[in-house]
Each structure stands twice: as structure tokens, then as C-alpha cells.
Symmetry: C2
Subunit: 501 residues, 2 copies
């Protein structure tokens, strides 16, 4: 990368410190999840908080902010402009939201987390209600400080998905919701509709070492650079960047079900390939890292669902599954594996949802977040609204709030605006797939277990750009048009019509 602009040069110099410290913090967090002995947690929290303090100071550095404010975009290259844009976007939270509010937010959410956990355990929404109210009020204030054009919610969406608006999301989600409900209805009416399998029951054991072997095999096939990353174990799978050349993923293993570690392994490797594929020149600059949560999820879900649960790839994997667990799966057919990985079942819990119903869970949350923030529903009424929507979208409503409004940690953390990126990921991914198929013989390659051309396409059209283009520009550049939900609907229809006829 050729940076000549003196202001941008100065920004890069300062940003490098921010980047290095951020990665140090990532190392602490990775270790916390993978290694830390129980009694070490208090000390680790203090260490992380102190690093955060230094980081905030770096973001608020007067010289840095002055350089940023005075940087003149006129004569800048595309990359230089993006460096300024990303620096401004990332520092916005610290510069626009008053420090007192940030501290109050940290305090309220750390208390809320404890009460949310207890409320969920005891299925007692009232225990969480006062905290939820405070968090909503805080998010309204924060949004006010961050600023927005049309809708208060825009300011929060922009944190996770730069430049995303409420109106755009609403339009996309409205049509998607109706299409998905119709598709689920069709699937449920199919003769082939099943929701259970004797292959994943309590009496069946899939040794953890074998599961890990399977995941490592997929990682290598996908092109993960094992010299520049690792696979470890943690309670919940995640991916993190400790350096441009040290991308770590974790997985969790269930002894009675081999599917989750297989799909989560591909999901996390999808995230990792994005980070490993970013242009090396962007290392420790504001162009490093995935551009948004939505694009990141699009890639992880692409590998998990569009590759990992693709009937063609499951055909390729069939003999591998069979020989990995010969006692249990030795005689299971390709057809049965496809069935096992593509069951559709409306359910209460988002994180257990299948590929078809998943987005409905997100749309429900998007609508609720929007209405809670804009005051069109009250926090008191939220559980009832949740049940009504659940009944409407899934045909079932949770009896317990612990399986409804209390199930996710996001609101307790104060992360309003985060959920939509999950569903956007599905939409982006399907649009990538559509475009990719113009040059890659997708199903044929999957049948052969040849994933290299797929990674190659993503490297060239998505990964390499890192945070150079905002999602909207990236979609145009990679697929020739803006995000259009029709591709995801078409993808699902085609896939599940084929499976369920």
C-alpha cells in the first residue's frame, strides 16, 4: 500500500499502537476462554480493564483527533480515504458519547448481565425488567450523541454494520419474513419432513478426538494456514485475531452429536479465512479486519451452510463420516447424512435454529429492538409481544420467558443493533454464491471435495479488501449490485425444494 498523504501517514503511525494493544487484549480474552484457571478471572478482568483505559486514551489523543479532523480527502487515494473514514468511524463512540455516559453504560450493563443470568435461570423476567429499561434509556441517549438522519435505531445499527439504515433493513426483512414463513409451511407439509434422528441420541458416542480430527481435516481442505493460526477448545466456539499471522479458532464438542462441531468448525474457519485473506499491507492499519459483523457472518455462514450442509459436499463427506465413526455411521447413506444436516424445525431458541428458520428469529428481534428504542412498545409489554410474534412467525410461542425474551445475552450487554447483522450475513452470502457460480462449478467442486476454487473466489472478491469498502460498496464490487434479499430466498427455495420435494 502506497501512502503518501502526510496526514494519513501520521494517522497510521498512531493507529499502529491502537492495533497492537487491541491484539494484546485479544490474546488475554482468548486465553481467558481457552486456558485460564478459575481463580485467575479477577486478575484478568483488572488487566483487561487497564488495557481498555490505555486504548481509550489513544483514541482520544488530541494530536490524532486533530490530524483526523484536518485530513483533506481531495487528493487522497481510495485506500487513504478509507483509512480516514475508518479511523473516524471507530473513534466516533469515544469522541461523541460523553465519558460519564460510557462509564454509566459499563456499570449498568455489568450489573444487568448478572441479573439477566439469574432471571433466565429462574424464568423471572421481572428480575431483568428494571435493567432492560435502563439499558433502553441509555441506548436512546447514546444514539442521540452518535447522531442519525431518520431513525434513532440507525445510530446503533451503524456501530456493527457501517452505514446500514433502519429503512433499508426493514424493507429487506419484511419481504424475507413472508417468504420464509411460506417456505417453512411448505417444508412442514412434505412427506419427508422429519425433526429427529436415532443417530444423535444419548446412547450414541462420538469420541471427541475423532470429532477434532474431522474438524482439522475440513480446516485444511478449506485452506486455513496452520502456520498462522490454531484450533483449540472453549465453551463456545469463536474466532479471534491475535496478529495478521496468528488467527485462532476454537470449537466445542458434544459427545452425543458430531454435527455441531463439524458445522461450527466450518463456520469459525470461514471467519478465519476472511482474516487470513486480507491484504498483508493492511496489517495493523484501519483497513485490517473484516469490514462489518454482517460480512463476517456472511462468510462463516457461507462455509457452514452453503458448503458444509450442501448435499453435494455431504456426498463427498459421506465416506469420511463413515470411516471416522465406523461403528455408528458405517452404514449410513449419503441421503441420510443430507437429512441429518438439513432438518428444518421451528423452535424457540435462536442458536439452535436451522438455516431456514434462523433469519425469522433475527427479524423478530430486529422488530422488537426498533419498537423498544422508539417507544412504540414498552419494556413491560415486551415478553407478551415476543410471544405474539413467535406464535405468528413460528406457529409456536414459548411458555417460559427463559425460552423467549430472556434467551439471549445481547440486550443485557447493551448491544442493541447487533442482531440484524446475523441475518444480513445470510443475505450477503447467498448473493456471493449466486455470483460465484458464474465462474466456479460450485456443486461439481463440492462433490470432489475441492474447496480451493471457492476460497480463491472469496479471497479475490471479498477477503483481500479487508475494511477498504463498506458493505454496500463491497457488494456492488463483488456481485455487481446492492444487497438484494431475493438471492437468499431463491437459494433456500431451490435447496429445500430439492430435498423435501
Amino acid at each position: 500500500m502506497n501512502v503518501a498523504n502526510p496526514s494519513v501517514k501520521k494517522l497510521l503511525q498512531h493507529y499502529k499502537k491502537i492495533s497492537l494493544l487491541g491484539k494484546v487484549k485479544a490474546t488475554l480474552d482468548w486465553d481467558l476462554n481457552v486456558n485460564m484457571p478459575p481463580k485467575g478471572s479477577h486478575g484478568r478482568a483488572e488487566q483487561s480493564a487497564y488495557l481498555e483505559e490505555i486504548l481509550v486514551q489513544l483514541w482520544l489523543d488530541t494530536d490524532f483527533l486533530d490530524t483526523l479532523a484536518s485530513a483533506d480527502a481531495k487528493t487522497m487515494t481510495e485506500e487513504e480515504k478509507a483509512i480516514v473514514r475508518n479511523s473516524a468511524h471507530a473513534s466516533k463512540f469515544y469522541t461523541k458519547v460523553p465519558k460519564a455516559l460510557i462509564i454509566e453504560n459499563a456499570k449498568v450493563t455489568s450489573e444487568a448481565f448478572i441479573h439477566w443470568r439469574q432471571a433466565r435461570e429462574e424464568n423471572n423476567f421481572k428480575g431483568f425488567l428494571p435493567h432492560l429499561k435502563k439499558i433502553i434509556a441509555l441506548n436512546q441517549k447514546i444514539a442521540g450523541h452518535l447522531g442519525y438522519q431518520e431513525n434513532l435505531y440507525d445510530a446503533l445499527l451503524d456501530i456493527y454494520e457501517p452505514a446500514l439504515t433502519t429503512s433499508f433493513t426493514k424493507k429487506a426483512f419484511d419481504s424475507l419474513r413472508d417468504e420464509l414463513m411460506t417456505l417453512v409451511g411448505h417444508i412442514q407439509k412434505s412427506e419427508k419432513y422429519v425433526t429427529d434422528s436415532p443417530l444423535v441420541e444419548k446412547n450414541i458416542v462420538y469420541p471427541l478426538e475423532k470429532q477434532k480430527e474431522l474438524v482439522l481435516g475440513c480446516m485444511k481442505k478449506m485452506g486455513f494456514d496452520m502456520q498462522a493460526g490454531r484450533l483449540d477448545v472453549s465453551p463456545h466456539p469463536f474466532t479471534t485475531t491475535l496478529d495478521r499471522y496468528d488467527i485462532r479458532i476454537t470449537n466445542a464438542y458434544k459427545v452425543h452429536d458430531f454435527r455441531e462441531s463439524y458445522t461450527a468448525g466450518m463456520h469459525e474457519t470461514g471467519h478465519a479465512l476472511y482474516e487470513q485473506g486480507i491484504h498483508p499491507d493492511y496489517r495493523d492499519t484501519p483497513l485490517e479486519g473484516g469490514v462489518s459483523f454482517g460480512i463476517h457472518e456472511s462468510l462463516s455462514r457461507f462455509w457452514e451452510n452453503m458448503v458444509g450442509k450442501n448435499p453435494a459436499y455431504l456426498g463427498y463427506m459421506t465416506p469420511i463420516f463413515q470411516s471416522t465413526y465406523p461403528d455408528v455411521l458405517g452404514n449410513v447413506s449419503e441421503k441420510e447424512f443430507v437429512q441429518l444436516f438439513t432438518m428444518v424445525k421451528p423452535s424457540f431458541i435462536r442458536i439452535e435454529a436451522d438455516e431456514v428458520t434462523y433469519a425469522l428469529h433475527i427479524i423478530l428481534r430486529f422488530e422488537m429492538e426498533h419498537d423498544l428504542l422508539n417507544g412504540t412498545i414498552s419494556a413491560e409489554d415486551a415478553p407478551e409481544v415476543w410471544r405474539e410474534k413467535s406464535k405468528k412467525y413460528f406457529g409456536i410461542a414459548p411458555m417460559k420467558d427463559s425460552q423467549g425474551i430472556l434467551q439471549d445475552v445481547h440486550w443485557a450487554y447493551g448491544n442493541f443493533g447487533y442482531f440484524p447483522s446475523y441475518a444480513l450475513g445470510n443475505l450477503y452470502g447467498a448473493q456471493f454464491l449466486k455470483k460465484m457460480k458464474e465462474s466456479v462449478h460450485f456443486e461439481e467442486e463440492l462433490q470432489k471435495g475441492n474447496l480451493a476454487p471457492i476460497k480463491q473466489w472469496l479471497d479475490t472478491h471479498v477477503h483481500t479488501y479487508g475494511s477498504l469498502y463498506y458493505p454496500r460498496e463491497l457488494m456492488k464490487k463483488a456481485t455487481g449490485e446492492e444487497l438484494n434479499p431475493k438471492y437468499f430466498v431463491a437459494y433456500l427455495k431451490e435447496k429445500y425444494t430439492e430435498i423435501y420435494k
Copy 2:
């Protein structure tokens, strides 16, 4: 800990930041040794260097140094005084040595390391000579800035062993050297003198998982708190403190010899018990951490040699060794195990030395460091002096410098003054043992595998104090007198006379 003095309160507040960052750095280093994928090393080096930069700024903080300078010891408690003393001692290097010299030192030693490694590989002292000369000159300058009363070398010894002097060390080492040479001579004349065993040859396999199991068993028996620490694998065993409640040790496993992981495991756990045993109030203060390298080594060597290689404890371990490796060791007797762990053999390589000859290796280095720094021998002549001393102390002289003067990394790192602490550890440890035996039925407890009273004694008389007392005071407090090498000599004579008759 009750701190009322306002200056000390201020010092503690600032020091906490230094402590937290130091532990973050320790986490990065631990991860580097245990987990890091090869391509991550460059990024990790940059992260560590940046943390070091912030740490130096914290040490040189004007307000901190002013508080330190103006702190009035008159009305202070013992703990408050020690906090001031330790803060001054730790900041001395940064305040007294000019920054340009610190930077030059870092540059020279990082180059020297590369040339040392190559010189050792190629057995070519001349390749290292110009670097050694520069390092000696730099250490002379650094010692000048740090200041000393009698001997230039005092200033460097004080870095690793606070308040230790050359004259004191020389006196102790002179008598020790002669005693050890005599003892080795006696052992070599014994009918029972052996230097090899068919139990540790290339055709014999000790599965690594079994070795780890054995080490974990010893750690638990020694009282290591597994909720506040971990055991992992790294190329060289080490112990590190990531927090008061997160002390990690590592071990290395050789497939043909089970002894090293057993003794190294106890050695590292000895370091860890020290850190785990320090008074909790000292956490993140200048009183946390072991007081010196020598005291730390005394505890690790105590567990490794005085417990782990004690015939009584080996008696207790015999059935455990037998059942851990039934195929190889099933019929090996207690006597044979004692022989296996107490072989004495003059050799060239320090890190492979036995308990009896080890200190001779250190004394040789101590004498050479002293003479090189004071200019009584030149760097050019050093290899020849090394051979002469080796011939004199061990009866053998290395043909190759790679097995002589080039074997250790310490001088390439610029760490003059570090070696003596290794031998001091032996001396301190024997004196602790002597005193401990007044109240603990040492051999009887070892025979029963009951290590709790031993840990208890060390907790009460050594561990809990952390860095409150300098080694000299600590010895008086714990054993009633200053360090006296006679206890170590008596310990060796008694043990090895019994074994070799």
C-alpha cells in the same frame, strides 16, 4: 496489609499499573512459548516491544519518581519501607542508566544473540568475540551508572540478588569449590560409582502421557493449587506469574528418559509454590513476587534435589514408578531408582550437571565474569582460561568451545551477574533444610510421601514474605543466621557418603 503513609499509598496506586502491564506481558510470553503458531512471532515481538515502551514510561513517570524521592522512611512500617526500597531498586536501572545506553545495550545484545548462536553451532569463538567485547564494555559502563561501593561487579550482582556483594560471594564460593572438588574425588573412587544406566537408553520408551500423569501427581502432592495455575508443554520448562491466582508452569518430555520431566516438574512447581504462597495482600504491589533469583532457585532446587532425589522420597515413589511404567520399570528396585537419580559425573555442560558438580560450573563462571569485567583477563584469552579452570575443577577440559565458553546464552543476552544466583540457590536451600529439620520429621514424611509439612514450613518461613525481606534478612529470619555455605557441603557429604559409602 495496612498502608497509612500517603506517599506509599501514592506509590502503590502507580505501581499497580506497572504490575498489571507486567503480567499482561508475561501472558504474551507464556503464549509465545506454549501456543504461538510460527508465523505469529514477528507480530508478537512488536506487541511486546510496545508494552515494554509503556512500562518504561511508567517507571520514569515524574510524579512517581518524585514521590519515591521524597518518601520519608522515619514513620513507616516495615512493609511500607520495603515498598519504597523495592520501588527504588526496580526503577534504578531506568533512572540511572542513560536511555541511549539502554537502547545501545538492547541493540548490541540482540545482534550478539544471533552471532552467539551461529558461533556455538560452528564452534567458532572468534565469531562471538567482538560481540562479547562490546557486551563487557557495555556492562562496565552500566555498572558505573548503577554505582557500587567496592567492586564493579557488585552493581551487576545487585540486579539479580539485591545487596549481594562480590566479596561475600567470593568467600562463600572459594570454600565451596574446594569442598566440592574433594567430595567429587571421593565419589569417583567409590566402588559404587556408575555413570550410565540401561534404563534410559534409546530403545526404551516412556509414553509422554504417562510422564505428564506422574508430574501432575507430584504437583498435587506438593500442594500446587490447580484452581490457580496450569501445567503445559514448552521447549524449555519455565514458571510464570500471570496473576497472583494464575501461576503457570511448563514442562518438556523426553521419550527415552522419564527422569528429566519428573525432576523439572518438581523444580518448576517449587518456583510456583513460592508465588502461590506469597501473602495475598501483596498482590500487585512491589512486595509481590519472589525476592531474588537466588531465593527462587533455592526453592525450586529444594524440591527437585532435596525432596525429589531424596532416597527416602524415591522409596515412596518406587511403587508409583513401577506401576506407571510396568513394562520397563516393573521390577526395578528402590536402590536402583536411587542410583538412577543420584549419579555424579563431572561433565562439560552446566545444564546437564548433577547436584554435586553443578555449583562448580557456576563458580567457574563467577570467577570468569569477575575477571572479565575487572579486566584481569581479556575476552581473547577467555576460552583458554575456561579450559584451564575446567581441567582444574572437573579434571576434564572441553576440546570444543561450543562445549565450553560458548555453551550458555547468558553473556550473549548481556546478563553478567546472573549466574551466581544459581549456586546461591543451593546454599540457601540447604540452610532452609537444616532449620526445617528442627521441627519437621523430614525423611519420615518423605518416606510416607507426605509433603504437606514441608510446604507448610516453607509457606510460613519463606513464601509468605514475598519481597518483604532482602535475601540476607530473610535468611536470618527463617534460619536464625546469615547464609553459610557449610550447610550445603554438609548436606551433600551426608547424602552422597550414605549412597556411595
